[in-house]
């Protein structure tokens, strides 16, 4: 897998609900398409996305082939303390992408 893009506010007030968006470059091959030789292209999708905030899981998404290529997700969490948000995507072949973003909570 290639690159990821996440958006987390750099600063937030303690207790504020912050919106997070995350996207990863991935073809999300559905397993329902034929290639040029008529063979079915094997499924390879990002099946799992997990966001942890200072090591604690705050959001998880299970994806199926109906999710677009370069899967996009927007969700929220409560800004509790300054720290690191960690984003992990895992595809059918076990490839992982890990991205991190820091947040300052005042």
């Amino acid at each position: 897998m290639a690159s990821a893009l996440v958006r987390v506010p750099a600063r937030a007030r303690r207790g504020e609900v912050i919106e997070i968006t995350a996207m990863v470059a991935h073809p999300m091959e559905t397993g329902f398409r034929s290639g040029e030789n008529g063979q079915i292209l094997p499924r390879n999708i990002v099946q799992l996305f997990v966001c942890r905030y200072d090591g604690v899981e705050v959001f998880r998404a299970e994806f199926f082939p109906a999710i677009t290529a370069n899967p996009y997700i927007a969700f929220s969490t409560i800004a509790t303390r300054s720290g690191t948000l960690e984003f992990r995507w895992i595809d059918d072949r076990g490839a992982e992408v890990l991205e991190r973003a820091a947040i300052i909570v005042e």
Partner: protein
């Protein structure tokens, strides 16, 4: 209100541009899926029953936001919003999205909790045909809620294959 209107257009644009940069050759290669087989409303019902462990599905408090008319089934913005205080005792635990006529009825499952603050999730999906979409919400107390919308797709995800 649609998911389109809830997102800052400038930001959407910048995300698209950035992804085009990071995704390289991947971005355009994967559009379209042309299913040999299509799920049926019965398949969707079976998937919903499994997700909700055969519990009664109540109505109210769930909004499934999808454009009524979709020009391109390869990328359809979908938002689910649930009225919930998102406290330790009263929060959304899971949201399941289901499709009637895609090759597979499951679209996505989202896991939330009191740390979410709001029960509001957005993603982008593929639609193989005009159809009904359903969101099922599991609450912390074990109750399940549902809502559904009809979506008209003018260019199905299939066409570009």
């Amino acid at each position: 209100m649609t998911p389109e209107s809830t997102t800052n257009p400038g930001r959407r644009q910048s995300i698209r541009v950035l992804v085009a940069g990071v995704a390289g050759g991947v971005a355009g290669a994967s559009l379209g899926w042309c299913p040999e087989a299509q799920a049926t409303p019965a398949d969707m019902q079976a998937a919903i029953t499994a997700f909700s462990r055969s519990q009664t599905l109540q109505s109210g408090g769930v909004r499934l936001l999808v454009p009524e008319l979709v020009e391109n089934g390869n990328s359809v913005p979908v938002s689910v919003q649930v009225d919930s205080p998102m406290t330790e005792r009263d929060h959304v635990r899971r949201i399941g999205l289901f499709s009637e006529k895609n090759p597979q009825p499951q679209i996505a499952v989202f896991h939330l909790g009191p740390h979410s603050g709001r029960a509001n999730v957005t993603t982008r999906i593929r639609l193989a045909d005009s159809q009904r979409l359903v969101a099922i919400v599991e609450m912390a107390d074990g109750r399940f809620f549902q809502t559904g919308v009809e979506v008209i797709v003018t260019l199905a995800a299939c066409i570009e294959n």
